[in-house]
């Protein structure tokens, strides 16, 4: 299974502050358990925020959609 990280270690790896991570978590942008998928998700969120100057509402909408697309693709693959 994926290795899990504490909030502090996650902040250190990604360079995102603990407060921001907690905020993302509260808004459902990242999962409550911190593993490699969370690191990927955080990097994606930060990329969208910095490069596309996206606000929290935009981030919620887009990450929700991206996650749904990924889930559906996996579902489609499993049904083949």
């Amino acid at each position: 299974m994926n290795e899990t990280y504490t909030l502090e270690v996650l902040a250190e790896i990604t360079g995102v502050t603990t407060q921001t991570i907690v905020q993302y978590q509260e808004h459902g942008l990242i999962r409550p358990e911190f593993d490699d998928e969370t690191i990927r998700a955080l990097r994606r969120i930060e990329h969208l925020r910095e490069s596309c100057e996206m606000n929290l509402a935009g981030l919620k909408l887009l990450t929700g959609l991206l996650n749904e697309v990924e889930q559906l693709r996996e579902e489609l693959r499993a049904r083949r």
């Binding site: 299974m1 994926n2 360079g15 490699d36 998928e37 690191i39 990927r40 990097r43 994606r44 990329h47 910095e50 490069s51 100057e53 991206l66 990924e70 996996e74 489609l76 693959r77 499993a78 083949r80």
Partner: protein, 330 residues
């Protein structure tokens, strides 16, 4: 430079207008023939097994097949394979090789060919299609700032046996340094943990794109793709198997020896088992974690009717018809 074109139709031995069912059947037959566990010449079989898996990965997926057909429409032209004009890699959700703009990267040891990686792998940065760059209008002002390298994503083909027991795989990743233009090859070992499920991403820290102006390197994410197995499919940690049974085995019940990934088990079919009924054997799937817990093994019953019967058998079926009160249309 586009990677060498792969003729997936020839690999699977099907025509270009084959139905999805034809493709599935052709693949299963070849997978059984070349599966490394059952083939005689293991080394040749392994290469062939990878090739047919790759072909199935593309042709077995209607979306990818459509892209492949568009991409390969002119593959046989004189002068070698070139993607059609206007072909956008971003459309393929592919990223390996940025088509002449920006950074190129190239994997080795993932079990997929360069052609697959260039056009069909999940390879991309941040899971976005290529071209999703962060060159914002303010970008120029930020020049000279230390910046972390991009993350790179790709697919890695993992057999179910590897997923069962875990393994180490040597991977090489070739990148072009954006600043110096030099081609850099990194070789490293990637640990596939026991129970690596299909779709799971394995993070390899610091093996992504090099950082700029002293920034840290990005990470590499390898998405696990289970190689198709002739006998089993997976769903998360659960293992699925289709078992062919005779009508009398289903009606009267039977004991059947069934293979799993690491042993054979004796499966008791209860009397009155129905076609497509699913039987579950707990704890015979893939490992779920370090706890030793395992997924389940699901057996789907497939009742097969005899198409040719001997004279004696025919008499018995006739006797059954005369005696039986069973009416399937009642």
């Amino acid at each position: 430079m586009p990677a060498q074109f792969k003729d997936y139709y020839t690999t699977l031995g099907v025509s270009r207008d084959a139905t999805p069912d034809d493709i599935k059947k052709a693949f299963r037959k070849l997978a059984r023939q070349y599966h490394p566990d059952t083939a005689k010449d293991k080394k040749t079989a392994e290469e062939k097994f990878k090739e047919i898996n790759e072909a199935n990965e593309v042709l077995g997926d209607p979306e990818k097949r459509k892209k492949y057909d568009t991409l390969g429409a002119r593959w046989n032209d004189a002068g070698g394979f070139e993607p059609p004009p206007g072909w956008q890699q971003a459309d393929a959700g592919a990223g390996a090789g940025a088509g002449g703009q920006g950074q190129e990267f190239h994997f080795g040891g993932t079990g997929f060919s360069d052609f697959f990686e260039q056009y069909f792998s999940g390879g991309s940065r941040y899971g976005f299609p290529q071209g999703f760059e962060e060159e914002t209008p303010g970008g120029a002002a930020r020049q000279g700032r230390a910046r972390r390298g991009h993350d790179i994503e790709g697919d890695i083909l993992v057999t179910l046996e590897e997923a069962m027991h875990g393994t180490q795989r040597p991977i090489s990743l070739q990148t072009v340094n954006r600043q110096t233009g030099a081609v850099e090859t990194h070789e490293f070992q990637v640990r596939i943990p026991p129970g690596a499920t299909d779709g799971r991403r394995i993070r390899v820290p610091g093996q992504g794109e090099p950082g700029r102006n002293g920034g840290a390197a990005g990470d590499l994410y390898l998405r696990v793709r289970h190689a198709s197995h002739p006998d089993f499919t997976t769903r998360e940690a659960d293992l699925h198997h289709e078992l062919d049974v005779a009508p009398w085995e289903a009606v009267l019940g039977a004991e059947v020896i069934v293979p799993t990934l690491d042993c054979s088990i004796k499966l008791r079919l209860p009397a009155g088992t129905e076609d497509r009924q699913q039987l579950r054997v707990r704890g015979k799937g893939l490992p779920k974690g370090k706890t030793g817990e395992r997924g389940d093994f699901f057996v789907t019953i497939n009742v097969v009717l005899p198409t040719q019967v001997s004279d004696d058998e025919r008499k018995l079926w006739e006797q059954l018809r005369a005696t039986s009160t069973f009416n399937p249309r009642a």
